[in-house]
Every structure is written in C-alpha cells, then in structure tokens.
Amino acid sequence: MKIKSTTGHVIYRPLVYDFNMLEIGGSWLQKYDVTAKEYIPNRALTPYVLRPYLGVEDLDAGVKMVGTYALVNVSWTVDAQHDGIKFVLGTDYSVNDSTHELIIRQNCDSYYAGKIRFEGEYVDSRRGDTQHFSWSHDMSTVAAATSAKMILRINGNRQSCKVNVYALGDISVLTLPAQLYAGNDEVDATYHWQVFDNNIWRDINTGNTPDLWYVQGADDKNLIINRAYIQRVLFRCLSGGQSATCLVRRWYGQYDADIRFVTGKYITDDTLKCVGEANVTNRQGDILDPCKFFDIEILFNDGTGHWTSVSTSETAEVNRSELNADTTLEHKFGLLCREKTALLPITMGGKPVTMGGKFACGQFPNTERIIEE
C-alpha cells in the first residue's frame, strides 16, 4: 500500500540589500589647469578609487553582512582616454580581485566625456535567487585656468611698462622678458607678442613696413629687439588669457646744444674768416661726435636778418668776403640741433625700398626745421 504524503516548504524571506559605490581618494570630476598644464589631482600620483559596498541582511536569521567579496560576475567598464588613447586595463586602471575595487591611475582628457560602469551579482543560495547590481557614472575633466589670480608682467612690471632706449648709449639688442604668474608663482605658459600699428594690434612682421627692430621671440616669453631700429613701439604680450603692454621708445635724456665763435667774433682788418663750432653737452659733459646722434645745421646771419645755412657738421666757416663791413650790423652763428630718429625703413609709394635684398633705412630729424630766434 502506497503512503500518502504532503509536501512542506521552507520559505525564506528575501534578503535585504544595500548597495553603494564609494568614491575613495578622489572624485569622478577632475580638473585640468590649462595654464599650469596640470591635472588636479594627478591620478598618476594619487589614484581615484571606486569601492563597491554591499550590505546583505538576512531577516530570518537576523544576520547582517557587509562586504563585497561575495559578489560574483563582477565587471568594470572604463571608457576614458588620455592623450587621445583609450584607457587600458592593467596600465591605466586595475581591479582588485578580492574587494572588486576599481583603481584608476590615469588622467582623463578634458575634451572626452568618459564613463564608468559596474556590474555585479549576488547569489542567494537559500532561494537560488540572483540579485543584479549595476552602477554607472560619467567621468569628466574640467579644463580651467589656475584659480589664483593670473598676472602677466613684462620686465617685472604689471600690465604696462615703459622702456627708454637711450639714443646715445648701447644700441645692441634689448630683451623684453614676460612672465605669467598665478598669484606669486611663475607659471609655465605660452606667450605671443604683438605690436600696435595703425590703431590696431597686429602680429609682428605683418604690417605694411617690415618690423626691422624684431630679432626673435614673437612666440616666446623673451622678446628680443634691436635698439637701433626702435623709435616708438608699443608692444603687447598675450599669455594665459592675460595681456600686458610695454612702450619702448628712443630717448635722448637731458642735453643742451650751443654754438660759439672759434674765430671772428670781433672782426678786424686782419680777420680772414669767422669760424663757429657747435657742441652738445649732457650731464656727462661734451657729447663726442654729436653729428652721429643729432642732425646739426649751422646757419649764419651777416646782420641783415637773413639766415643762411653754412654747414651740416660741427663747425662752420664763413669767409671775410661774405661778411658785412657795416660796423652797425652784428653777425651771428645759429645752430639748429635736432634729434635723429632710429633707423627707419625708407618707403616709396608706401612700399619699403630694398637695396641688394636688404631694406634701405635712414635716420631723419624728428622735428620740423624751424628757423627763428
């Protein structure tokens, strides 16, 4: 005789899960300082770690378990790139086999929208249920300038400066150093120099006439220029979103020009000629070879009120035959001493003149020729 049976069931209440993803030692959001060219933080030095957290509570047994070691079928997907190259497992990131931590040791390009995805499962052996856990997040890098105040200095001066090129001194090259600072710290940055011309800022050597003062450094922190060609040039340096200007001008300083009679101040029977001599002095004394720096013109007035140009050098001679014999008239030497410009390109019809493949240059008086006492 067969037995009769009835089936009983063991019913477990479902487990209670608490799943979280813990960010350790960083954030999914990274910064990139475009000025200092630094990642903040630099994940190559201090990695970004994501640690899955799983809490499992068995209500029937009254047991609470915390840990991720029981997770199975764990997979991490990291979609990110550095310098245009996709992250590689083992090189750019790794996964801890026991804790399932994701460790990212590489910085993410600022222009790339990265993504991290986690998949894992927990098997409830009592019920044969499999609980699936997934988590995903963006991973991006924000490019920004250094938060400290950016200051661009030329020649150590903030925003603007003036540099005098002493016309009577050294005419070799001059260096204009620029430096970008973040607060008080020097910043490694790129630099670009421009020049103000015809009421606009333009790049060097892109004007109608050549920038003969330019030596090198249009895209460098140090602009090197030739003093001999500088008359009055306004420069601008651009770096890290900042700009600073520098006016460089030819400068003569304080000086005084005068003319004196060498002979002939008093004309007698035996006076054969009048000789006048110009000299230019400054605080250091007589300027040697003044015609090198000044446009000098000596004029003579025989007493009739009419000035005649008699020399374009430092001395002038007027023969007795040209002197007035009238003793009531006073003869005079006059001096017209004008500063010379820097070497400037000679233009014809608005275009620079070249000679033998080189630009023709000249120095010209920088003021008008006005003859009046």
């Binding site: 350790i24 030692g25 960083g26 954030s27 630094e38 903040i40 933080p41 630099n42 190559a44 030095l45 201090t46 990695p47 770690v49 801890n96 804790t99 931590e101 460790i103």
Partner: protein
C-alpha cells in the same frame, strides 16, 4: 592640489594604504583630499610632509 608623504602609521589611520603608492619604510603618497575627515593640521602634526608635485613624481618614481 597639494601632495603629502605620510608615515605608515598615519596611512593606517587614514585607511589609504591599499590604494596609495608607497610602503611602510618611506611612507605613502597622498593628496590633501585624503585628509578630509582627519584634518590637514592634524595630519601635518602626525608627520605628513608637504611636497611639490615634482617631488611627488620623484617619490613615485623611486618606488
């Protein structure tokens, strides 16, 4: 970002030894963010040494 080299004892307290570069002999390299709950002043008092990024790179390269 400021980087620090912390002694092993402090790294233990901060629970960063598993994911920060270094060893018990020369210390562990971490950043200011790792002191979020501990406090930078406390960390410095406990032996954390501020280093430049270049020094941090040199430290990392010696490992």
């Amino acid at each position: 970002m400021k980087y620090y080299i912390v002694p092993a004892e402090l790294a233990d307290k901060l629970k960063i030894k598993s994911f920060r570069s270094g060893n018990d002999k020369i210390g562990y390299l971490c950043n200011a963010g790792d002191f979020a709950t501990y406090g930078i002043e406390s960390a410095v008092a406990a032996g954390a040494k501020l280093v430049t990024e270049q020094e941090a790179i040199e430290f990392y390269n010696t490992l």
